[in-house]
């Protein structure tokens, strides 16, 4: 039976048993911030959040990741690979928009001839436990981006909060496997499943923010030199908030730390920084904020559609809430979709 | 900076201005004055040449203490090098201490070319302070 019920009070017990076999990552509250951390006991986790500031992408694609270490000696160079840990992991409390972002990130890291083992290894070893959204935020527009507050894409086991308890729905066999590890979980009654369905419909109706991406990719192809770009970038200060907090942004830089004995690390990078495309000769194909803002929008809503078949915005609203100058991506997409030649 | 296994010995980076403090250190040496061998000297044209990055980078690289020494106000070969530096050092010292770097990690002094003995005492005093503080941890990058 793929539907189970879990009392809220039993969450710590579940986590305890999970940590015996898995490395468990879950949302943890530290003063005003909720972020995904490794937890060892049940009472550390906090599920009363709308969504975390930093997306869970950092569990698979950390801000700083060691690729390998090197030692330069008289007799030559020794390289020691730094592979992703092989241990099985559970990532719990992921909202549906973020779970869907993993499916999109998989496309980037596994497409083409070269596979990014660091990311893919962690993804392969991790079971995703989603947390459905009963109360989406006003800045959420996942329904316009092909997602939904109870979306199952990228989720192995979905938790849906009913008052006082959680309904567990196994979406994939991996989710089923996880449930079977806890025989004490009771099967869900019909009433619970019905209630969850109604909550789902309420949540979807609660999302009033609608953005149409219909025809946006095609229009963007013809809008590269449109004067509109001169206007919309003006208030942007070019920081990395929108890209670092975006669940589907995965651009990175590679650099060495340490001279004779050190490590090659990969760190998050942003297309909003002038250094992103600054060439050794001093030439920069994207010299000002206009080109960089255009790149972010073209990439999210056009280039990825051509390369991977769908847009990379999951409608989580983080870039809207956290932009220091309240630059709203919904406004930009609206301008594009209503653009006439 | 691997600290010695046996008894830890502080390593101190000393920025000495070429015209006064460096000459003072020379005088201390010529006059056979004894002072602890823990400092490593970086000779700079003037205390005004010392960029706060040098001091912060030294702390990051694991130096246990930093000594910055220049000419007394009014003696500067470049007239106002030390005077401009004095304000810079004041802000830097207050900021570092405010951030939580132990006072005594970063030390400043004026030593003229004739004050060999003062130089020796300043070094002794700095080494004692740093010895008391123990090996550097804060801001050190592993």
């Amino acid at each position: 039976m793929k539907w189970k019920v879990l009392e809220k009070s039993k969450i710590p017990v579940l986590i305890e048993e999970l940590t015996r076999e898995y490395e468990v990552f879950a949302p943890v509250k530290k003063n005003s911030l909720v972020s995904f951390e490794r937890v060892s006991s049940g009472n550390e986790i906090y599920l009363g959040f709308q969504n975390t500031k930093k997306p869970p992408k950092e569990v698979f694609f950390p801000q700083t990741e060691i690729l390998f270490t090197y030692r330069v000696g008289k007799k030559g160079v020794e390289i020691e690979e730094h592979p992703a840990p092989r241990r099985k992991r559970v990532l719990l409390g992921v909202r549906s928009c973020d779970a869907r972002s993993f499916v999109l990130l998989d496309k980037v890291f596994s497409s083409g001839e070269y596979k990014d083992l660091y990311y893919l290894e962690k993804r392969k070893n991790t079971t995703i436990v989603g947390l459905a959204c009963n109360h989406p935020l006003s800045t959420c527009f996942c329904t316009s981006m092909g997602g939904s507050p109870f979306g199952k894409e990228g989720v192995d086991l979905l938790l849906q909060e009913l008052n006082g308890k959680y309904l567990l729905e196994a979406v994939t066999e991996r989710g089923m496997e996880l449930i079977e590890k806890f025989p004490w979980l009771m099967d869900a009654e019909k009433g619970d499943i019905e209630k969850a369905k109604r909550l789902f419909e309420d949540a979807e109706r609660a999302i009033r923010s609608k953005v149409s991406v219909e025809g946006v990719s095609e229009k963007l192809d013809r809008m590269f030199d449109d004067p509109m770009w001169d206007q919309i970038h003006q208030k942007c200060v070019g920081c990395a908030v929108c890209t670092y907090l975006c669940p589907t942004c995965c651009c990175f830089d590679i650099l060495d730390e340490g001279t004779n004995e050190g490590k090659r690390v990969r760190i998050w990078d942003t297309c909003q920084s002038p250094l992103f495309t600054l060439e050794g000769s001093g030439h920069n194909p994207r010299p000002s904020g206009k080109e960089r803002m255009r790149q972010r929008i073209m990439h999210k809503f056009d280039y990825v559609v051509k390369n991977f078949g769908e847009g990379f915005c999951v409608g989580c609203g983080r870039c809207i809430r956290e932009c220091p100058v309240n630059l709203d991506i919904r406004e930009i997409v609206k301008k594009i979709s209503t653009w006439q030649v | 900076m691997k600290t010695a296994e046996k008894e830890w010995n502080p390593k101190i980076l000393a920025f000495l201005c070429n015209w006064c403090s460096y000459a003072g250190a020379d005088l201390a040496g010529i006059s056979r004055m004894q002072y602890p061998p823990n400092i490593r000297v970086v000779r700079v044209p003037c205390s005004g040449r010392i960029n706060p990055y040098f001091i912060i980078k030294a702390l990051q690289r694991g130096w246990d203490g930093v000594l910055v020494s220049g000419c007394h106000p009014g003696d500067c070969h470049y007239i106002s090098g030390n005077l401009v530096a004095r304000r810079r050092f004041a802000v830097l010292k207050d900021l570092l201490e405010y951030l939580g770097i132990e006072p005594g990690r970063v030390n400043f002094s004026w030593v003229s070319a004739a004050e060999g003995e003062k130089f020796a005492n300043v070094v002794k005093d700095v080494v004692e302070k740093v010895q008391a503080l123990g090996p550097a941890e804060r801001l050190v990058k592993r």
């Binding site: 200060v237 220091p324 100058v325 709203d328 | 009014g74 004095r86 802000v91 900021l95 939580g100 400043f108």
Partner: protein, 316 residues
């Protein structure tokens, strides 16, 4: 507030139609409650977009550096002071900017409102005099505005812009007696270990997005010290030592220049109280050199000059 808004619009309309400026930079309604967003008006008919309320928190002087055209900018007390600092530092030609000075009684700190509501989302907010009415899913509260102002505004002693070309409305009473450095003194009273633990914990949240640097009007370097590669002074990863050094050196670079507009703390997505660091540099300047930045166009930045009797108690 309403008449301030309408007079800002009138002034903007006049400046644009008289061709005194090519562009007006002001605030327009944001897309979220308690938010406004910078707006660039170059046509007279768009002047209606300009608003003025207690959420006009952005420091618009950031947009003046490297601008070729003549610009009119709406400026609160702190904004006008940071424009003055940029003018003194030759980054903004004085004749290129028309400062529309607006007296300010403090801007709302949305993070304080969010903290008070414990995660419940504000869907709508209206400022009525000294009250903020916030509405959301199943709640409606009225909050006293004075308890939710930005920290910078609580210690502000220059509510009226000291430098301006056009002044909007009447001057508001100043509060010179406010203890400007209360928070800093409180931190100073703690032990070195406590302070280190405090800053280490705060700054470990930093994700190096540089929003604090990019919204600061005084951070206009062409190549910031963290971006330099030859030599690479400090690391670019979010290693704790490199991150803390980035923040100390940035505070050092705004020493004697920062006007405490609070833009850095407001911009930080990780809710780090960056103001604690830069406010300390302001205290140092006050105590050691009796200097307050951005009050006149003739001042010389303190780190750019010296006096024979400068304090040197720390130099042995």
């Amino acid at each position: 507030m309403e008449n301030l808004e309408s007079s800002i619009r009138d002034i903007a309309r006049k400046l644009l139609s008289d061709k005194k400026v090519d562009l007006i930079i002001g605030y327009e309604q944001g897309t979220l409650p308690l938010r406004t967003t910078p707006c660039f008006v170059d046509k007279v008919e768009d002047v209606q977009k300009l608003v003025w309320n207690a959420s006009c928190d952005a420091n618009l002087s950031k947009y003046l550096v490297d601008r070729k055209e003549k610009v009119g900018v709406v400026a609160k007390g702190c904004d006008a002071r940071s424009i003055a600092v940029c003018i003194v530092e030759k980054q903004i030609p004085r004749e290129n900017v028309v400062i529309i000075g607006v007296p300010c009684l403090g801007v709302i700190d949305r993070k304080k409102v969010e903290a008070k509501l414990g995660g419940k989302e504000v869907l709508e907010s209206i400022v009525e005099g000294e009250q903020i009415r916030v509405k959301g899913e199943g709640f409606e509260f009225v909050l006293p505005k004075k308890d939710f102002l930005c920290d910078s505004c609580l210690t502000c002693r220059h509510r009226n812009p000291p430098i301006y070309d056009v002044f909007v409305g009447e001057k508001v009473p100043e509060t010179p007696e406010v203890n400007e450095f209360a928070e800093v003194s409180d931190l100073e009273s703690k032990s070195v270990e406590e302070r280190w633990a405090h800053f280490k914990e705060e700054l470990s949240k930093c994700i190096r997005c540089y929003a604090c640097r990019n919204v600061c009007p005084l951070c206009y370097c062409k190549m910031c010290f963290v971006d330099q590669t030859m030599p690479a002074w400090f690391g670019k990863t979010n290693d704790l030592s490199d991150t803390m050094i980035y923040h100390i050196v940035r505070a050092f670079h705004v020493a004697g220049r920062c006007v405490d507009c609070g833009a850095c703390s407001r911009a930080c997505p990780m809710d780090i109280n960056l103001r604690e660091l830069v406010k300390k540099t302001e205290k140092i300047m006050k105590e050691r050199y009796d200097y307050e930045s951005g009050l006149s166009l003739e001042e010389v930045p303190p780190l750019g000059e010296f006096k024979m009797d400068d304090s040197q108690e720390f130099i042995k």
